[in-house]
Amino acid sequence: MTTPAEMTREQTASAGARNVRKQRLKTIARHAILIAWTLVILFPIYWMVATSFKESGEWVAWPPHWIPHEPTIKNYSQIFAFDTSEAGVAREATEQPFNVWGPLGDSLLICTVSALIALLLGTFLAYSISRFNVGGKHFRHAILMIRMVPPIVIAIPLLMYYAIMIPLAAETVLGTRIVLFDTRIGVSAIYIATTLPFVIWMMLTFIEEVPYTLEHAARMMGAGRMYTLRRVVLPLVASGMVVTFLFVFILNWAEFLLALTLTHPDVVTLPVLLNKFQSASEGRLFGPQAAIGTIITIPVVVLGMLIQKHLIRGFSFGTIRK
């Protein structure tokens, strides 16, 4: 016959086993939801990459071809090749230009130059904020407010500035027409302005990890401010500068709205080109679009994976200090 003590022990053991089962079920459910949601998020990227390897007959087939039945690299060869054959010239008469080289060049040039300039300006400004408290104690937070404005809000006013007001003002004041609309300089300028807050924020974190005493030691040995910056501070934040450059490059690389608003037809960035694929004979050219989308996505994914660890550090906003 079981005693009251034995009964209590048995009850405790079975309650423990029930708890373990409950925890296990919760963990399984949690992971299942996360996996399902990840699949939902990743599916469009998979579909884009798959479509880039499909023939035109499979692009909008129903039921959908989840895996390309006849994989092809024709979409990629179309966007990369200069087809000067008779068929190629004839096709260009009915379709918009496929060629990705121009927009690829524009994107690379604009994104690299604007990231470099933003990095240079932002690093010096971050140093001033850190060492001289430029702007006061709230400035470093106020700087980020610029980035809180949605691009759609400033896109049309910027168009007015670029296309009408700046040329008019320049012609009136300087006697010469300065055009920023549909220019690489114009797009770069706005990219610099919109990414500067990020550069400042990230470089602040890296610069504030450099101990003040290193600069004091350099000053004691006769080094001026610029010498100290060049020989002591910048070498120590060099890896932070690389991470910041890559992050800003990614932001500019994927930027669509401002590039669409402020350019046409000379300057075309890759995201804008993506929007343009139409054909009189075939309608929307999903295959080449998917190929370009894949090309746009690759640097973002690769660079993002390279810098993700450093991004977490950069976005700690200086709250984690040594």
């Binding site: 005493t213 290193l214 004691m220 040995m221 002591v232």
Partner: protein, 357 residues
């Protein structure tokens, strides 16, 4: 000449006054140590001498020249920081050569001076390494080599030994003292460690709350502290303090506390009668016996090897401490009797803390 003179130097940070009217003369070639608790203004004073901070008011002169408006690099000083401030991205060689490169010294001369400084500090094998690859003691020597290579007339040191372990600290103290003797330069050293101050200084400046409490030679400060603060800061264990009132009986003065009545030496002035005072007695001037004297009870015995410390309560607010022979047969809980050696009396005003005898 490397004499340093501070005249009425004040430093404010907003509403807070870190240094309240410092007057100090550092003699040419002396090893002067500024000592005090955290926040007393010693590092701020050092930073003002170095030029890293500007005085709010007052004058600082080095070698007869007022340097208030001179940049740190123009004052002919060398400085060793608490965290050593070695450049982590440069080799030891480049760290030492940094100051010479700033001054655009020729490469051949840089090489010979760097190697000579490394040789003097016994770090020649480390020249190709980075600071992260050096131990605490080695890093300390690199920092010293970087300072001596520019031949400064004055060395400023801000707690350079605080990050070292106890044994290394003792070794480096000797090293610094030897360096001072060899170079015959002026050393201005900041520390919160009274043992460092006692062992290394030619003179000590004791600071508290932005003010100078006392300036003097180590033994003078130990034997005749100018205030209760100085008395409590120097000496291990801390001086014993008994608060009471001076009374007069039969022509002699005595200190009356809640539990004791101690006769004071005849040299004490009669004007002290009725005054609230604090009597300070160092542990080496407390005598312990089994019979005669005041009663007490042992709380704790700390054996130190050559001597032992006995902490005992006598009915006062805090226990007293005495140094005893380690062979003395005493144990926790034992009753004892104690008395004080009048030659070791230090009398302080209870309100101002200033010395009275």
């Amino acid at each position: 000449m490397a004499q340093i003179v501070l005249k009425d130097v004040v430093k404010r940070f907003g509403a807070q006054i870190a240094v309240k009217g410092m007057n100090l003369q550092v003699r040419d070639g002396e090893f002067l140590i500024m000592v005090g608790p955290s926040g007393c203004g010693k590092t701020t004073t050092l930073n003002m001498i170095s030029g890293l901070e500007r005085p709010t008011s007052g004058e600082i002169a080095i070698g007869g020249q007022v340097v208030n408006d001179l940049e740190p690099g123009e004052r002919g000083l060398g400085m060793v920081f608490q965290d050593l401030a070695l450049f982590p991205h440069l080799t030891v060689y480049e760290n030492i050569a940094f100051g010479l490169r700033v001054k655009k010294v020729l490469e051949a001369e840089i090489d010979s001076r760097v190697r000579a400084a490394a040789e003097a500090m016994h770090i020649s094998p480390l020249l190709a390494k980075r600071p992260a690859q050096c131990s605490g003691g080695e890093s300390q020597r690199v920092a010293l080599a970087r300072t001596i290579v520019t031949n400064p007339a004055v060395f400023l040191m801000d707690e350079p030994l605080s990050s070292l372990d106890a044994k290394l600290r003792v070794d480096m103290r000797t090293e610094l003292k030897r360096l001072h003797d060899r170079l015959s330069a002026t050393f201005v050293y900041v520390t919160h460690d009274q043992a460092e101050a006692m062992t290394m200084a030619d003179r000590i400046v004791v600071m508290s709350g932005g003010l100078v409490e006392q300036i003097g030679e180590p033994l003078e400060i130990y034997r005749k502290p100018a205030s209760q603060f100085v008395a409590s800061f120097f000496g291990t264990p801390t001086m014993n303090f008994l608060s009471g009132t001076v009374e007069s009986t039969g022509g002699s003065l005595a200190l009356r506390t809640a539990n004791l009545r101690q006769r004071l030496p005849d040299s004490m002035p009669a004007s002290l009668v009725g005054r609230n005072v604090v009597l300070g007695v160092r542990s080496e001037h407390v005598t312990i016996g089994k019979n005669g004297g005041n009663p007490g009870k042992v709380q704790l015995i700390e054996p130190l090897g050559a001597e032992s410390l006995v902490f005992f309560e006598y009915g006062g607010a805090t226990p007293l401490v005495a140094k005893i022979d380690p062979e003395m047969p005493l144990d926790t809980g034992d009753n004892l009797t104690f008395d004080f050696d009048p030659a070791g009396y230090h009398l302080f005003d209870a309100d101002t803390g200033k010395r009275l005898n």
